[in-house]
């Protein structure tokens, strides 16, 4: 097959929030940049974010970045790196105000400032009371943000390759990254994008689970490509189950509903969160609320004929507030739950939502791997930001509104680092290895030639069911062990998938088969990392690691205060230390403590 070569200063893979924010930095600095995206930019999954983006603007209640940093470290169950967290919380006001200047239609306070609402796990004065930190555009914040970022890129003349799917990362013998191979959906043709810098902003892989708030496109493409190319994946056992997915449909209902006063109730109408989180109640951290809901359901206090969900109640809010602040939620509830939340509560269940782990990076957006005794040695030419990356600011559990902040801060930071490295002459266009496209071409040839294989749909379904059963909200040693075994078998089956459609033109079957390869890497990383971590921390809670005086909430800092690194080759695990030291002297390290809300 003839493979065209295209050369750029930088190639960005993904055009969601992180990719667009990085692209802006590069375009405005005049770098010749290609942004590859498998969907038109405004169709990226950032569009579905609802409740807001965190920044301690203090427009409605007193606030500062120290409190935000404390909440984020505590939310992460101390697995987040404190240098990256300090960097993010300090930069929050700047990147949010920038967006406002780009035209983002934030809601407004009476005095014309950006409207802010309370959100789970965000507090004033180190956990004392809820704070209004979430900057919102109704309940369509992600949509408003993604469109504003795309629009600003139109202004900056960013060059997009729309409906191009990246296939594999190109590394040379030194391990340096030289670009990617990619396939144009319309023609099926493969090209090499050869660049001095490659930024991954490919989003998460929530589609490894059966029940997910995530879009079909969230297949962990960048994470899978990195893993296949020998980059370890960090902390993949930590997945966020959002408390309020619509029961059955999985569609997201923002935490902003509880920020505006919504209450979770069990079958007897009890506001059960008062028992689990006496202080922040329904606005406790997401992992805490999801476990409380699951416990209520498991103990027979679920609602509905099958007692399989709880209710999110906003009937006590004024219809005016609902129409003004939560109009999109009302549409979703009517469409997907068949209830008008002005009149009746919404049935909800914890639903897979966000990947805390990912490609290991530092706060500058550089991808870092262990090398020559340094656990965080940058990979030349390789950067990542957003959900596909692990900086790590979310640690074992992300706070709501910190994901939109993460993609802004680290998208910008990765872009700035590339621009600096470019201007200093540090970035070089290294020669392409002769076999640069061979891996991708072999994958495509395998698919075209496969006979008597299984369907992508069947193998994918088996993976999703397995992950749902074996690595859910609560985790059990025997289920995890079985899950490792099963995922190993499913990964073998995925090597023999067969597609019937062999067309060159917009072949969805081929795309889904290639996506499954990426999902499988993520699922293997998740189950193997989860089985190995013999403690409870954040979103990873095991039955055999209960709350004890020595190990509060089952967290075992003596043995497990460390980041997991999973390598695809050999299915091997390694670990690296958590950075407990902030970036500057402006703040003391946040000392380890038991998490309560």
């Amino acid at each position: 097959m003839n493979v065209a070569k295209r050369t750029f200063d930088a190639v960005i893979v993904g055009a969601g929030g992180a990719g667009l924010r990085a692209a802006l930095q590069l375009s405005e600095a005049g770098l010749k940049t290609a942004v590859l995206t498998k969907v038109f930019p405004t169709r990226s999954h950032t569009v579905a974010a609802q409740g807001g983006v965190a920044a301690s603007l203090g427009n409605s209640t007193e606030d500062n970045w120290h409190w935000h940093m404390y909440d984020t470290v505590k939310g992460s169950d101390w697995l987040g790196d404190q240098d990256a967290i300090e960097f993010m919380c300090k930069k929050a006001n700047e990147v949010v105000v920038e967006l406002e200047h780009y035209g983002m239609p934030f809601d407004r306070t009476d005095n014309g400032k950006i409207y802010q609402r309370p959100f789970g796990g965000h507090s004033m004065n180190y956990g004392q009371a809820p704070v209004m930190r979430s900057c919102a555009a109704a309940d369509r914040t992600g949509h408003a943000m993604l469109h504003a970022l795309y629009q600003r890129n139109v202004r900056a003349n960013t060059q997009f390759f729309v409906e191009w799917m990246a296939l594999d990362l190109i590394r040379d013998a030194d391990g340096d990254v030289l670009g990617v191979t990619a396939m144009e959906m319309e023609t099926g043709e493969v090209s090499i994008f050869h660049a001095k810098a490659t930024i991954f902003a490919t989003g998460g892989a929530g589609r490894i689970y059966y029940s997910s708030t995530n879009a079909f496109i969230n297949t962990g493409d960048g994470v899978g490509m990195a893993a296949r190319a020998g980059i370890p994946l960090e902390d993949m056992e930590f997945w966020q189950f959002h408390p309020t997915g619509v029961a059955g449909a999985g569609v997201l209902i923002t935490e902003g509903v509880r920020g505006e006063g919504g209450i979770l109730r069990n079958s007897s109408g009890e506001r059960f969160m008062e028992r689990y989180a006496p202080n922040l109640k329904d606005l406790a951290s997401r992992d805490v609320v999801s476990r409380a809901m699951t416990t209520e359901i498991n103990e027979g206090r679920g609602c509905g004929p099958d007692k399989d969900h709880v209710l999110l109640d906003i009937t006590h809010l004024s219809p005016d507030t609902i129409m003004k602040r939560l109009p999109g939620i009302r549409e979703i509830a009517i469409q997907f739950a068949g209830v008008d939340p002005i009149k009746a509560p919404i049935p909800v269940v914890p639903t897979c939502h966000y990947q805390m782990g990912g490609i290991p990076t530092n706060y500058k957006g550089q991808v870092v791997v262990p090398k020559d005794g340094n656990p965080n040695s940058p990979v030349a030419g390789f950067y990542a930001a957003g959900e596909c990356a692990c900086a790590s600011v979310h640690g074992a559990n992300r706070l709501g509104t910190n994901s939109l902040l993460d993609l802004l801060v680290f998208g910008k930071s990765a872009g700035e680092t590339v621009v600096e490295d470019f201007k200093s002459g540090q970035l070089k266009l290294k020669p392409l290895p002769a076999d640069a496209a061979d891996v991708s071409l072999a994958r495509l040839a395998r698919l075209d030639g496969q006979t008597n294989g299984e369907s992508v749909f069947d193998v994918g379904l088996e993976m999703r069911r397995t992950m749902q059963k074996h690595a859910g909200v609560f985790r059990f040693d025997n289920l995890l062990k079985e899950g490792v075994q099963k995922m190993g078998e499913i990964a073998e089956r995925a090597k023999r998938t067969e597609i019937k459609d062999k067309s060159k033109v917009w072949n969805v079957a081929r795309m889904e088969a290639l996506e499954l390869d990426n999902l499988i890497e993520v699922a293997r990383a998740t189950i193997v990392s989860a089985e190995a971590r013999k403690e409870s921390r954040g979103a990873h809670v095991r039955d055999d690691a209960p709350d004890t005086p020595e190990n509060p909430n089952g967290r075992d800092d003596a043995n497990w205060l460390k980041h997991t690194l999973w390598y695809s080759e050999g299915n091997r695990l390694d670990y690296k230390p958590v950075n407990l030291k902030p970036l500057s002297d402006d703040v003391e390290p946040i000392a380890l403590a038991k998490r309560t809300y």
Binding site: R43, V97, H101, V154, R155, F336, A509
Partner: protein, 236 residues
Amino acid sequence: MTKRTVQFKIYRYDPDKDEKPYMQDISVELEASDKKLLDALVRLRAKDDSMSFRRSCREGVCGSDAMNINGKNGLACLTDIDSLQQPITLRPLPGLPVIRDLIVDMTQFFKQYHSIKPYLVNNEPAPERERLQSPEDREELNGLYECILCACCSTSCPSFWWNPDKFVGPAGLLAAYRFLADTRDQDTNARLDNLEDPYRLFRCHTIMNCVDVCPKGLNPTRAIGKIKDMMVRRAI
């Protein structure tokens, strides 16, 4: 609800093997949990992996799965299967070139969107904090900024069918008014100049198909009327 079978008539065309497009009769058995047209299409793909359409968020915010459903444009993910008469006839969005099956080439649609300069213009030095905007001024953007660029409106508009290269179309004009209505934007005159043309704005004959099909309940016709008002007020 138990399992049920649904009948479809679907436009099929793969330029790699088909000489010309054809309508395929096909049925699919649904599970009780399948409620939306997109659920049924995903089941169809499990049966025939060559069935091609775009999809992503499955909740009506990304704008990927617009198609012509029983003669009317809409999003597959927001359309209840049980609201549709069978056989359910699916065609690609009208008026744009077909790439394959239900996938259309949206180049012309986005070209028109880009032509209205869809970004905020404010040449004053950026202040340290946010630019202030009253809640009332912000409310002017409601019904405008929520557009998901699905193209249901523009591809249901006869004026856009006739002049896709000259008439901006309802989606682009809705976006144009979104910036005209923003108190932070300073480019009003240039924006109006850019639309003052027999085709770009004035090909809208208030047929209102756009309003009828918008899956987000937006009203491009009203926005177009407001732009025309601004033109008139500027002239006198």
